[in-house]
Symmetry: C5
Subunit: 353 residues, 5 copies
């Protein structure tokens, strides 16, 4: 909901006005560059954004990664140098985008969500990743340092791997693929949480568990919201007739597409399971209430009549013949015992005991 709050601040501004919408997560934007072709590969961290400008025209594949979106000037300079439309720059800065892809002839714009499971908060954290694909270049924008791309970087460094022989479109695919792969890790974690809750809820349905269930539910809703558009995004990439996506990469995009379907399937399954958790929770409470009621009923039903009998012979009437009989007291005890036993038999027959 934070996204909306920030989003609202922008209402009424002219389109293409560059304002960063989202939390500022780091001090200063950090720009890194990896430039590689089949023979060589160089990595460096840039101090000024202008340092990456020469790479526009080199034939080798360049990957510029920008961590931190709050410095609007950096984004503006990149936009100017690489002919990126101001509406796209606006989308990069507004971190509440719906995953989508846009084909702008000379470049492609892809925006999607990177999710990670935060063990400390025991919840999902979400970050927006924008990717610009040009002929020999991928520019990636993220909100904070730290991402899921380390494995891709590792593969680029290894000269023998396929990625070194392929173009920028393959790099784009590899980045999307590693984001989708992280969805599986988050889903795994959610799956474990569901299993743990399933056992706890049945054992002891506390209110705290109810809140955990609802937290899970909200997370699954959130996941659905970012995953469903992803399917369309990758489908569009795959079917795109742009020359930026070579035919050799399409097969790999098909593969990501299948993975996204698996993610969707699992998310939907989890959704049904979480709503099943709520059913179990409510039934458990009902069951427990039923048990409490039974105890009360058994105790009350046995002792109330007995107390009544005792009350009778506690009356102070002068003419109560039973009070004088020698065997009256033991007889009353006997009557009480028999009454109690009859009650117990009755409860046993009703399966309350």
């Amino acid at each position: 909901m934070k996204g909306n709050k920030k989003r609202a601040k922008k209402a009424g501004l002219a389109p293409g006005t560059l304002v960063h919408i989202g939390e500022q997560k780091i001090d200063k934007p950090r720009i890194t560059l990896i430039d590689y072709d089949q023979e060589s590969c160089q990595e460096k961290e840039l101090k000024k954004v202008e340092e990456c400008f020469p790479f526009k025209i080199t034939p080798s594949v360049s990957w510029i990664n920008i961590d931190g979106l709050h410095d609007v000037k950096v984004i503006e300079k990149i936009g100017a140098r690489y002919d990126v439309s101001s509406l796209v720059l606006e989308d990069i800065l507004h971190t509440t985008q719906r995953p989508k892809m846009e084909d702008h002839d000379s470049y492609m714009y892809v925006v999607l969500k990177m999710i990670r499971y935060d063990d400390q908060q025991a919840g999902i954290t979400m970050e927006q990743i924008s990717l610009i694909l040009r002929d020999t270049m991928v520019i990636s924008f993220q909100e904070s340092v730290g991402d899921v791309f380390d494995a891709v970087r590792e593969r680029i460094r290894n000269a023998t791997l396929r990625i070194r022989k392929m173009g920028a479109d393959y790099l784009l695919y590899a980045l999307i693929d590693s984001i989708v792969d992280h969805y599986f890790i988050v889903l795994e974690k959610l799956g474990e949480n569901i299993e743990v809750l399933q056992e706890q809820v049945a054992e002891n349905p506390t209110e705290d568990l109810l809140h955990q269930i609802h937290k899970l539910k909200r997370e699954v809703i959130l996941l659905r919201k970012v995953i469903w558009p992803l399917r369309e995004l990758v489908g569009n990439l795959q079917r795109s007739e742009s020359e930026l996506i070579r035919e050799s990469t399409e097969m790999f995009l098909k593969d990501v597409y299948d993975h996204i379907f698996q993610v969707i399937d699992t998310t939907e399954t989890y959704r049904e399971m979480v709503s099943g958790l709520l059913d179990i929770y409510l039934s458990s409470i009902s069951n427990r209430m039923n048990a409490v009621m039974k105890v009360l009923t058994i105790i009350a039903t046995i002792f109330i009549p007995l107390t009544f009998i005792a009350g009778i012979y506690g009356m102070n009437f002068e003419y109560m013949p039973e009070l004088k009989y020698k065997w009256a007291y033991p007889t009353v005890w006997l009557v009480m015992l028999v009454t109690g036993i009859i009650m117990l038999i009755f409860f046993r027959k009703r399966k309350w005991l």
Copy 2:
């Protein structure tokens, strides 16, 4: 529901009969005009509707805004001067329209809902906005003074901004965009309400909260009803082959289209969250009932048997040997204490304490 009530009054009238359906919110219609091109920009408030008629033929972009729909004659005159079909005029006056766009060759008709969050009533207020797009002109109709267009007016006044260089279709876009932007503000408010309720419901589920939840639910239903058709509206505008929409504006309409999708996504998420609130509410009540029952059961289960024992020795039989024993009284106390402790252990084992 008020809309329907008014709507019903019109049943059976000939189509195109101009009757204002809706609440009269202001005394007298107020007509304002902004006329601008790249060089100049003039604003004035018109006393008579006829004053705006000359602007039909000027090449500069004219924006005529009419606040107040109850004076049918004003609408009729504008309809006559600008060749607007009587069916469209009827739609402008009936403030229960479903958002839609209609292409009438020489002009386009767009009707949609402007929503605002009313802090005093703590609820959403909704107003119908009708927009007529002609070659160099936009006419906007609203029910009352006060709208969400101030930011657009500000941008028009600023000669350096893009809006001054673009045509009437861009103005139409800017108006729709600022309406959609206000949806985010309302959603933000709803989101905050949901969060506040979420905490309150878990803490203390009063009946008042139940009504707040149902109010929220109705508002989300209402929102969905006006937002979903919006998607089709803007989609149609964008795909429209009319010459009124220039190609340069299509890109901006695509942008609004994406925003509407975000609004829809968020609304659907809120919808699920509100129905989750109801679940939490019901579970909280069940939990509380369970707690009440436990207290009753613990007290009753401990004291009913003890009271029975006391009742036994309150009987007035002549031959009750225990009554004579010296240690009988303390023994009874001991028995009672032990019984009570056994009960407490039993409850602890069942996790009721």
Copy 3:
């Protein structure tokens, strides 16, 4: 459900066998005729069905209205004279049709439901209207006298109105439009009922209210059943390439189409509201039960321990030293008071009081 009962009687008969299926609501069919063109307009009630036969060939627009469907012969004669297929005649007589339109080259057949809110039964009554459109003629069939067409008749009588200048297809449109307009009146009534129930249910959830909610629910289900096919019906009319529908009328059909969408939207909203009513009902009962339980628990929890103390000193042991103490009795009172106050504080802390 009555419709089905009657419908079942017909099972196995040859198709096109004319049997009236529905309730006979009036004694004798009543046939009225309105014949008009731009200059003149004549209305008369016909004694015999044959009297309307000459109007087949006149160039003026003729509207024949038949109230009462149980006299199969009347329908047969009309069918023979105006070349109406026996399957269509069958559909006219079976008053359980799903709204639909059929294009039979020389004529069009439209069947839909006219609904009215019956204040006495506090419910919706439904009647089937069949319309046959020929080149210069509309024949309408209804089950009983009394309809929603009076406003249309009034407009025909007024020589200055558009209807007098248009053809039979415009008359067809006007009839459908006035039926759809009546849907708004019924919806308004339903909306009021929902609002009234909403308040009553929250205040005092009686079983009678539950039945009213379920009655409302059934009525909304019924409405949906007759409204959804209407959309397709009018859509087909509008898109129809038949020469019977002139181009000038299409614009008006588009208008009805929009109205039907509003009706559908409102019905769906009501549907969600009615199911919300059920939620409120159930929550209210739970809340009330909770309140009852609290009262019981408070009273029992305070007095059961006190009664136990009183019981202790009602025992008749000979050796009970407290009984002899002078301050014992006031002390016991004090103990009881303190116990009671502690209990009350406990309940207050738990927010039960």
Copy 4:
């Protein structure tokens, strides 16, 4: 579920292996033949399946009806004589088919479910009907003697009716139509059951009623399962470009198609009503529980404090001044009366009485 059990037995067999899957309902298959054209009509019961073979080439319409599917040889012989594919024969024998139609150039295969309401079991019985349409011939296969086709037979015997003038495709239509007509009878019965249950549930929600509701629910689910594919079946027949279906019959198929839509509509309505029944049931139980709780609370809340007062003056302290007062006893009575009345007023105010 029986169907599945049998179906499972066949797992792994080669396709086209003829094994009867379903219950054997009669001793010996019974084969009847009706052969008719406009002039003549002959009916006979055949002793051997070979007797019907000559009718393959006659120009008159032949209807061969086979009751009982367990004698695989009979089916095989017919399959061989009339060139029916082994996969189709397999489908005829497996009585768990989904309604469908298949166009095999020289013949058409239609399989659907005939349902009847069994008053003794108070439930729906279902039987599979397979129909083979050839140029001048319809072969129908059913599981047991007794069907819904008697009205069709009657019409064939009557030389004046349309059926005698039409071809085999019209006969196919007539058979399907009479099956669909029977659906209305079953729906009528279900509708009555729903109405009866609706009243009973509100009056006294016994567990037996719960099971009746769930039985109804299962039956409605079953109905949906056989009705929805029917729509596609008849739609395909109608749109079929096969020469086996003459143009004159298409109009009648359209009519059946409309009927199926009515059946679907009614089934969906019943489905919602049955789930409404469950809501009423649960609310009724809650209401009753609430009533029980109120009685308990009223009695307990009135008498527990009074019993406490009585307990006080049943104590045996030596120094209890009240015991000696002359007016103490009536005063206590008065206090008790007032307390009781205050309680009653409190309950009345809360609307518990």
Copy 5:
């Protein structure tokens, strides 16, 4: 969920990296070969994967079956010999695939799930089957020894059956068909479980039953997840324009397609039944709670007032005239009896007894 856990391990690796994802179920992969044409048929178990390589070029149909996927080298060698893409090999090894088919010109890849009902665990076990179809060859990969293909093997051994005359595409069909046939067996088992639970739940709703219901629910969700994509898979195979699927086989694929529809229908029906089980469960608990409450209320309501009366005459006031009356004691008994009987009549009237 296990699948996801393993799947997560792979995150970030380059596509086409062969890693087995799934449980290792057997020690050593087992490779068997069946090679047949119309005249001859040979079966053998291969010690080394290379032994099957010569069969690539024989015109007879070869079926290579590999049990066990953990030995990545075996899969690699087969991939190299039969030109299978590394992405496909990856899919074979990742046993979390969604059922799908892929057409790679020279071969087709089909992956689906084989399910079996495990009586010991009383649950469904699932295994991934990958099938590669080449011109004269089918290669099948499964996770463990033991499958549902024995019936197919038996049919291959029998020289007279159709399978010996058909090509590899028919073998593919036969394998898919026997997998789908096993779905019916599992569904049958699930159906029986549902029926058993239905009776037990109504009789005695224990918490154990609740878990069984939720286990069933999860299994039905799982089934849906693997069955729905199957429909698309077989539909694609059928519509495929690849030369690998001969026209003669399409008819059989249509047959499997129909079977899958039956499986889907039954699964959906079971889904509704299982959710019906939950309703019955909750209603049963409510009913039982209601019964418990009634017993408590009856006992308490009868005896609390009687105990109060007894308490009155247990008071020790000196001036209590009734205590002296001779008939007081029997009169009190009488009053108590009458009070009790009135109570019982009241309960009977409310149908609580």
